[in-house]
């Protein structure tokens, strides 16, 4: 699992590459925990190369959801593979999180 940060203006984009399981969740959690993240207006998660997400991986997003909302930072997922989207959907996160098809939609969100 590789996490790449691509800041651009008031938007921070994270590229997730690989499987987000219990061990890689720690890496992502450390990235999302950085205080400077709250200075961005929007955080985009590019899930194009995200092939699998475990409950620990979901837990990372869930645990940061409230914090980002309180700081008025938008969290948007895009380019999500169907298999991964299913996991979000089953857990009901699709109604809670902003998941869009393309990067353009994510930028506009």
């Amino acid at each position: 699992m590789k996490v790449t940060a691509q800041p651009s203006g008031d938007t921070q984009t994270f590229l997730l590459d690989g499987e987000l399981d219990a061990s890689s969740a720690v890496v992502l959690d450390a990235e999302l925990n950085k205080p400077e993240l709250l200075s961005y207006k929007k955080i985009l998660i590019d899930c194009q190369r995200l092939s699998y997400i475990s409950s620990a991986g979901l837990g990372v997003f869930i645990s940061h959801l409230q914090r980002l909302q309180d700081a008025n930072v938008k969290l948007v997922f895009f380019n999500m593979q169907e298999k991964v989207f299913n996991v979000f959907e089953i857990l009901g996160l699709d109604s809670l999180m902003n998941i869009v098809q393309t990067e353009q939609e994510a930028q506009a969100a």
Binding site: A22, D29, L58, G59, I62, Q66, G92, L93, S95
Partner: protein, 695 residues
């Protein structure tokens, strides 16, 4: 100008003195030359004294302490030198026999012979010194120094014309002689000889003794010549030195020949043995690591008579307690400095260091640890993977750590390391046993939480299957019969694994049973028990304060009213329910919305979960499961998936609940054959039957 060493200067000086001695001796015979006999006599005295001093100091510098157990080599070296010197004497005597017997010739011969004799004496004396001081302490070294000083004082006395009164002289000579005899008692080296070595040593000593006697006989013969013989005072130095040389050789010979016991050698062996025995006893009693370290240090210090020692233990105590370093005759500061100086990361932790001449190597320079001659550093290990610390020993004398001292040390260390290793293994086993026990208890507790007695009724069949990936799991399910022919079914999955997850499953079970208590204030039967939506909202609220922020729980709750032939249910992020519709003969999933528990921790949760209703028909089958089933992987890494599960139910729906359950779980096991269980698996099958009259 070339730079000469000290020894070279001494030899040059000795040669000059020899020339002066020759001139003096020549002068003694020819009273007519020069101012008179007194001049020549004094010159001969001074020159002989100077020559002897130079040659002895030269020998003192040349002969170092004994290295290892090279007694025979040392003796052999002395033998060849003595042989060469004696051969020189014989050549001189041969020439003297051939040439005309003039005073000049005699004087030259005599001075050469005297020089050879002094040379032999000096070599013998300092070889004996090496043997005497073998395994001797600082006290013996001081005694030897006194002996040397006494002999030197005698040499100085030769220069004075004052003649010591005979009775006093006798006392002085006797005292020095007895002192010499006392020193001759130090024959420890003989005990270290093997039988064959002993024979060689005896022969070599006999030879050396023979050469000495030859020289003495010659000197006794020339003493008859009044023009050559020096006064008694002049000979006393040579006399005592040769006395000592001869007595030591004879004593050594006797000790070797009759195998006389040398008490302190046996004493030392006994101490080694006793200490080792003591150490093993301590170890057998299974004391603490600190006690083993302390005993190791005590035993070694006692056996090797170390002057200072320091032991830096390395032992991980289970309860985090530290084993503290132990020092002997060394301050904690000094030990710390020593550690920094000796730390050699390049050599690795298991390196051994022996320095038998600290004055030369300057290893401890600038540390304030003065006066030490030898140092030994040994890692505490027995060849195994563990290093239990470092031992540093210091002794005042140089050449203190010989191979057999080190072998004694190794024996001690191996013994101690072995017991420390045992101790560590025992502790590790205890810790691991405790963890195992606790896990087993946790598994046992969880096992008890799983309903053993499945609800039975004429209206339905239930079959269950649950398999945890580890000792304890995060899946849970439960049933509860409610009054009025109702059945509550709960299934769920706590995110994460292990003990934490297992703890939350117990919590969910508690919440389930608490919420399913009949409400006494309810106005109607319907309100007596919470509907699925309310159940989820209340469970979410109950979990808000006890679930870690990154954890969540998925659950599905079913309230079956088999009197009415229908059920209501709610899904909180859990896997979709698989359903066989017997009238439509169709297998499908209930696709409903619902958010997992613990994700939103405020009043808004109610908006994200819904109650659904369904009327069932006899023959309908409901398959409830956790993601461990659909996410089971095969060798290629593919997931089992919802589609395959649906197909399976399509193949076996007509069987009993247990038959359907077995059919599906066999297929899952076939699919992931040879793969480790990644996640807990739970599979519940409910089959509704045609209504039958109550019995």
């Amino acid at each position: 100008m070339p730079k000469f060493s000290r020894s070279t200067w001494l030899l040059v000086l000795a040669a000059l003195f020899w020339v002066a001695l020759l001139l003096g001796t020549l002068g003694q015979g020819n009273a007519g030359i020069g101012p008179g006999v007194n001049w020549a006599h004094w010159l001969a005295l001074a020159a002989q004294g100077g020559f002897a001093a130079c040659v002895f100091i030269f020998a003192r510098i040349q002969t170092g302490p004994l290295r290892g157990h090279n007694f025979l080599g040392t003796l052999r070296q002395l033998f060849w030198r003595a042989l060469a010197l004696t051969a020189g004497l014989l050549v001189v005597e041969g020439i003297a026999w051939l040439e005309p017997n003039t005073h000049t010739n005699r004087a030259v011969d005599y001075t050469i012979a005297l020089a050879l004799f002094i040379g032999l004496l000096s070599q013998t004396l300092y070889t004996w010194r090496a043997l005497v001081s073998f395994r001797g302490g600082a006290r013996l070294r001081r005694e030897w120094l006194v002996f040397e000083l006494l002999l030197g004082a005698l040499l100085l006395f030769q220069l004075t014309t004052w003649v010591i009164p005979p009775p006093l002289r006798l006392v002085v000579y006797a005292a020095i002689g007895i002192f010499g005899i006392y020193l001759c008692g130090h024959q420890r080296w003989v005990a270290y000889l093997s039988t064959s070595q002993k024979t060689q040593a005896i022969l070599l000593q006999l030879g050396i003794l023979g050469f000495l006697v030859l020289f003495l006989l010659y000197l006794r013969q020339v003493q008859a010549d009044p023009t050559l013989a020096a006064p008694a005072a002049q000979q006393s130095f040579l006399l005592l030195a040769s006395f000592f040389a001869v007595v030591y050789a004879v004593a050594g010979l006797l000790v070797s020949l009759f195998n006389l016991p040398v008490a302190d050698v046996y004493e030392q062996r006994r101490t080694e043995f006793m200490s080792l025995q003591q150490l093993s006893q301590v170890i057998q009693r299974g004391k603490t690591p600190q006690e083993i370290y302390q005993n190791l240090l005590n035993s070694i210090v006692q056996t090797l008579q170390a002057d200072a020692a320091w032991l830096d233990p390395h032992f991980a105590e289970a309860d985090g307690e530290e084993v503290t370093p132990i020092t002997y005759q060394l301050s904690a500061d000094a030990a710390g400095q020593l550690r920094d100086r000796l730390a050699n990361p390049a050599a690795g932790p298991a390196h051994e260091l022996v320095d038998n001449d600290l004055e030369r190597s300057q290893l401890l320079q600038g540390l304030g640890l003065t006066g030490y001659g030898s140092l030994a550093l040994l890692p505490l290990h027995n060849g195994g993977p563990h290093n239990f610390g470092t031992l540093v020993l210091l002794k005042m004398e140089t050449e203190s750590f010989e191979p057999d001292d080190l072998s004694v040390l190794h024996t001690f260390i191996t013994q101690a390391a072995l017991s420390l290793e045992n101790l560590q293994l025992v502790r590790e086993a205890q810790v691991s046993q405790r963890t195992q026990d606790e896990l087993r208890i946790a598994a046992l507790v969880q096992e008890r939480l799983i309903p053993k007695q499945l609800p039975t009724d004429n209206w339905f069949e239930i079959s269950t299957y649950a398999q945890a990936a580890k000792e304890v799991g995060g899946d849970f399910y439960d049933f509860l019969h409610l009054p009025g022919q109702k059945l509550a079914v709960l299934i769920g999955d706590v995110s994460g694994k292990g003990v934490t997850a297992a703890f939350h499953t117990a919590q969910m079970k508690g919440i389930f049973h608490a919420l399913m208590q009949p409400n006494p204030l309810a106005k109607s039967d319907r309100q007596r028990f919470p509907d699925p939506h309310r159940f989820m909202v209340q469970a979410n609220e109950a979990l808000t304060h006890c679930l870690e922020r990154s954890s969540f729980i998925t659950a599905a709750f079913y309230l079956i009213d088999y009197q009415a032939g229908g059920f209501s249910f709610a899904r909180a992020g859990h896997c979709h329910t698989l359903y066989y519709h017997s009238i439509k003969e169709e297998v499908s999933y209930f696709h409903t919305e619902g958010l997992g528990l613990g994700i939103i921790r405020n009043d808004n949760y109610g908006k994200h979960v819904k109650t659904q209703f369904w009327d069932y028909n006899p023959g309908d089958v409901m398959v409830i499961y956790t993601d461990g089933i659909v996410e089971a992987r095969n060798a290629a890494g593919d997931e089992y998936g919802e589609n395959r599960l649906r197909e399976m139910l399509g193949e076996c729906f007509y069987q009993s609940a247990e038959g359907i359950n077995a059919y599906i779980r066999n297929d899952v096991q076939q699919f992931s054959l040879g793969q480790p269980l990644h996640d807990d698996q739970t599979l519940l099958v409910v089959k509704f039957k045609a209504s039958q009259p109550q019995q």
